[in-house]
Symmetry: C2
Subunit: 411 residues, 2 copies
Amino acid sequence: MGKNAIVGQSGGPTAVINASLAGVYESCKERGAEKVYGMMYGVSGLLERQFCILDEKLKVPMDIELLKRTPSSYLGSCRYKLPDWHTQDGEKIYKQLFTILEELEIGCFFYIGGNDSMDTIDKLSAYGAHAKSEIRFIGIPKTIDNDLMVTDHTPGYGSAAKYIGVVMKEIIRDSTVYDIKSVTIVEIMGRNAGWLTAAAALAESNDCEGADMICLPEVPFDMELFIEKVAELQKKKKSLVIAVSEGIKLEDGRYVCELADDDHKTDVFGHKSLTGTGRFLADTLARHLDTKTRAIELSTLQRCASHAASGTDIAEAYQVGAAAAKAAFEGHTGDMVALIRTTHTPYQCTTELHPIREIANLEKTVPVEWIKKDFMGMTQDFISYASPLIQAELPPYYVAGLPHHIYLADK
Amino acid sequence: MGKNAIVGQSGGPTAVINASLAGVYESCKERGAEKVYGMMYGVSGLLERQFCILDEKLKVPMDIELLKRTPSSYLGSCRYKLPDWHTQDGEKIYKQLFTILEELEIGCFFYIGGNDSMDTIDKLSAYGAHAKSEIRFIGIPKTIDNDLMVTDHTPGYGSAAKYIGVVMKEIIRDSTVYDIKSVTIVEIMGRNAGWLTAAAALAESNDCEGADMICLPEVPFDMELFIEKVAELQKKKKSLVIAVSEGIKLEDGRYVCELADDDHKTDVFGHKSLTGTGRFLADTLARHLDTKTRAIELSTLQRCASHAASGTDIAEAYQVGAAAAKAAFEGHTGDMVALIRTTHTPYQCTTELHPIREIANLEKTVPVEWIKKDFMGMTQDFISYASPLIQAELPPYYVAGLPHHIYLADK
């Protein structure tokens, strides 16, 4: 086996993806990796020979602590889809990649990412087997969307859910301050899975009224019913706060935001870029009802707010990174590390390996039985599932009043 | 003098307006106020006899600690402009208000708010003098906008500035993660004064590149120059993050956001509601340059993010509330408590009283000599001014993973 390891980060950033990087790095070093390389900008950068030696960057224990507290991908990221290696043009790319990996004497290859990144690991391990390479490929789950199969939840989700809980409580306090009719629509990320929007339900507690309505993409959106429910709720309570997923769709499959704007771009994986759902709903309500409305888009902050990260999430993100290194050094390849909840109360979670083929390119959505009828929120089953994931805090190191990060300047 | 006191909160919420409420309450009780009433929804609610007895709400020391950590106005707020009392219809309102105050045996009246709220104190104290009332009226500054005259800064600004610094650092890490050309426009509140947007400059440090451009309303916005500068900067650095004030205006006085949309509503004080500046600039850049763009609107979170409040700001907000009570009990009326910076290094600040007439309805903008040419950011003078205001943290009490608040359910 090659004496070195390499690790990359891919897809959208999270608050804790660097904690997984720290876990991979420390676990590889402990297991005797001579050098641990970092791909710059994922596989896409690696193809252009953009990499660094992490041993030269992470020199003191404080660097590891800062990695746990720094949002986004320390190494940079990409949204690059590997071609099919069965085609001639496709195979060229793989040959190029494996040549670089062999030059660097890589024994273990780690990729931290979501669905699309697991597709990369799937293809690389399949091509590796075909080419009789000894390199081991392990996937490390990461996505705020929580939409990966097999794993109980994905690292990154807990922190995004905690951030959503924190800001929903603050937005509810802010939005109910005037004695006038108002509807605040909070637009939350999530293309087809409503896990993030569902987290708005965590705000309800003895010191907070909670969200008044929650709209997930798992349930077809009915505009008439929505307006009717808002009017009904406003009879009893002047200020409403409603959480909606950017990805809510009509019965006929059209995204709600498409009703407002036909100019929706598509990314390399064929995903539509969705924004404007909240604004569109706010405008629609203002036209139909006698109420002030406001749309708030949580935007990228829900994935990068390390200053409000979940301590549990950071610990688990580190854990899956470290478990991935263990798996690779023990000879596994083509697997992803999954989180398995062993008990609910008290919450306990461990890691397991799963063939990546069972995971890549599939999406796990919110069970519809966890969603209350008529946009009325989430059931206790969801709360029991999500609540443990937002527990505990690992506050930033504040320097001159702001959180201190670790930063790869020569990226 | 009436044996009781009354306090109200008015205008837009902040992260620390409740710390001022705590300061007023504790200082009034210490000085012998029998009861401290809270106006519900400011003067507007008081006119409808909506009030509570704070002594019945704030029973244990923990309630005061929670007030310091709860965003928005505990008592509710209003945007109500008192009429001119020289007119017959106008005077009716004042008579009505003073009747209620006399019934409640009020000796001291406190109003925590911004420019428009100081106008209320100005009018009430003038009418009080005219009507030979013994009630003392004191204004307590509060606004994230930092646009009040006389006071060195306003409570609420430090926390908003800290929040902007925190999220700018996180957005910069998030937005520079891909190896592609991109421009992220962060739209920040501020109608005519750029204090909040200027706070984006605080993000720059040895672990952060900082904002690439900062556009304030104090400097006429030149679209051609803006596009030119972006193109120039992108030659050296692919991903740019730009902070813009919602209130930037062209040389001819039109708001930039008006170029996109003529449907701008006006509030009761005649202020235009400004949003869409960031989105408009992002769309314009995408049309003119070969770059991905994204607009992020910080929206209400910049005024209600108590979870990232400045410890200094919380302490000062409490201090001005307490100083207001002292002033009223010592016989002052028609004054506002101002913060006076006595020394810069070390930062030290004290309170002084100023006639409210010198303050109400005036706006303090950012000195243009603190703004670098061509949107290139803020000078060291601004950093030295703003940096002390974001220092220290007073973290929330986290309960079940989320910040705990104090909540007036029967409001």
